[in-house]
């Protein structure tokens, strides 16, 4: 990747949010990041509506059999390099759903995961820290 491109990515990462089979809580907390109390747009992070524009995927919720092919498709549509940020314990180790017939396991079995943010749900501060850590890897 060019130096200019990397600089742009670090200064203004655009994120796309994928909910596999989540309980909505991590999703709501991600939206919470946009609202006045946390306001991550001041760091240049914008939630975009299409995976083709995304520099980072925020994935939430345990993967199930129906959402797995869709999530993989969304990942293939993103422009590379694309960071994958796992938000919530469900994404890291399937949490309380490990015995479910429909859960197909943690994300790192299928995607190259960059950062894990455990918690049920993680606090918005933890999410900001996690994304900053992901950017510092670049």
């Amino acid at each position: 990747m060019s130096k200019l491109g990397l600089w742009g990515l670090k200064k203004s990462p655009w994120v796309y949010h994928v909910a596999a089979a989540s309980c909505n809580n991590c999703d709501i907390e991600i939206l919470e990041l946009l609202t006045p109390r946390y306001d991550i747009e001041r760091f240049g992070m914008v939630l975009v509506g299409s995976p083709r524009h995304a520099d980072a995927l925020l994935v939430t919720g345990v993967l199930n059999r129906k959402s797995l092919p869709r999530v993989m498709e969304v990942y293939e549509q993103t422009s590379k390099p694309c960071l994958v940020v796992c938000i919530g314990t469900c994404t890291c180790n399937t949490n309380i759903f490990r015995n479910s017939y429909n859960a197909v396991g943690p994300y790192d079995k299928y995607l190259p995961v960059d950062v894990y943010i455990p918690g049920c749900p993680p606090k918005p501060e933890a999410m900001i820290t996690g994304i900053v850590k992901a950017l510092s890897k670049l």
Partner: protein
């Protein structure tokens, strides 16, 4: 060419989902349109199915509330509340009075935060992001109260069979009241801002009308039915916890459009603030947990009014420390079906708002999904047949 053929020919399909910027959960809507007009709607769910009813019998009664809490992050008090009511119904015990009041306070705090969340998203859907930002800013006050009482912003883990896990201390009460003062003032401000705004009125009034007959026919619950003139509220009609001990009113509007649904939710928040104040004033002293020695064989039902409508939990016990069967019915299950009539006849631009007006919660709804290789599905009739067969098998196995 006949009239019908002509109209079928001009039909187009607008797919929404499963991953789209409109709502944060995956779901698939197929809008069938004629020009700008929506003539039909097909809903395809199942992206969110995690098999709660399967996992629940593997857990003990003390663990089940933690599981059902994770059905939905927004109703994360309603589901455990209904579960513990079902377990207590089965065991035939009554929680102490103080626990009843604390449960009521938590449930109403949850209603305020859920309705504020909906209001913000509704503003977002009509392209009025100021309402979104303001509603979510004041929602933070409620979340702070939650963090103070329960230690977590969401997933409160307050309910346990026989009572509540944590107490509301005397020092916390003035803090809660202070937050409620702010919330009440700001909800009135938002009410006036939304109802007086000509742009919001134009987008909400007369859109997505659900008549009283349709609301009853589709068995809608909660604010969706109350905005169509059906005065049904589990809190009043089947009193549990402290709802029959404090004064409050059921909000009903007869119009059935999105504006009425907004008004119901806004005024319900004011009622919730009133309930919380009355509960804190009347909070009795005493223990917060009752002792449960064993849960006898039998069955129990728990019903409570979640922010979206009636939550229903059924527990069947065989005398061991795990439930034999746990059945969950969430309010969005019926409310989402009513979208099919509400969205028909409107324009595509209004469809997004109409679909969101029932405050759909897909993760609550998806208790049942059937598919093969991610594609083939059972039809509705086949699912029903399987369900009957299973009931027969269970009857044979356990008698009665």
């Amino acid at each position: 060419m006949s009239e019908e053929q002509k109209s079928t020919k001009s039909r187009r399909i607008v797919p929404i989902g499963p991953y789209h910027p409109l709502q944060e959960e995956p779901e698939f809507f197929k809008l069938i349109v004629e020009g700008e007009k929506v003539v039909d709607l097909e809903i395809n769910l199942g992206y969110n199915h995690r098999g709660h009813e399967f996992i629940s019998p593997e857990l003990t009664y003390d663990q089940v509330p933690f599981l059902v809490e994770r059905i939905c992050g927004i109703c994360s008090n309603s589901h455990p509340f209904a579960t513990v009511l079902a377990i207590e119904d089965c065991a035939g015990i009554k929680p102490p009075a103080r626990a009843d009041y604390i449960r009521t306070v938590i449930q109403e705090l949850e209603r305020i935060h859920s309705h504020l969340l909906w209001l913000g998203l509704a503003g977002h859907f009509v392209g009025y992001n100021t309402v979104w930002m303001w509603a979510w800013k004041y929602r933070e006050y409620v979340l702070q109260v939650f963090e103070m009482i329960t230690g977590n912003r969401n997933h409160y883990a307050m309910n346990k069979p026989g009572g509540v896990r944590r107490d509301i201390t005397r020092e916390q009460i003035p803090e809660i009241e202070k937050a409620m003062d702010v919330v009440e003032k700001k909800v009135w401000m938002l009410t006036n801002a939304v109802l007086d705004d000509p742009v919001m009125r134009a987008r909400l009034e007369g859109v997505g009308i659900l008549t009283k007959e349709q609301a009853i026919a589709y068995a809608t619950t909660g604010p969706t039915s109350r905005a169509s003139g059906v005065p049904w509220d589990v809190r009043r009609d089947e009193p549990h916890a402290a709802y029959d001990l404090v004064p409050w009113d059921v909000i009903v509007f007869p119009e059935g459009d999105v504006l009425a649904k907004t008004k119901v939710r806004l005024l319900e928040m004011i009622e919730s603030v009133r309930i919380i104040r009355e509960c804190l004033k009347a909070l009795p002293d005493g223990p917060i947990q009752a002792r449960i020695d064993e849960i006898p064989p039998g069955e129990g039902i728990g019903r409570t009014e979640a922010p979206r409508g009636e939550v229903f939990h059924y527990i069947r016990s065989d005398g061991s420390n795990r439930p034999l069967r746990h059945k969950i019915r969430a309010p969005s299950f019926m409310n989402i079906a009513s979208n099919v009539v509400a969205v028909r006849g409107g324009s595509i631009a209004d469809a997004a708002l109409t679909l969101a007006a029932v405050d759909p919660c897909y993760c609550c709804t998806e208790r049942m999904a059937a598919f093969e290789d991610g594609k083939q599905k059972f039809t509705w009739q086949e699912l029903l047949r399987l369900s009957w067969q299973k009931t027969e098998r269970l009857k044979e196995k356990y008698g009665k």
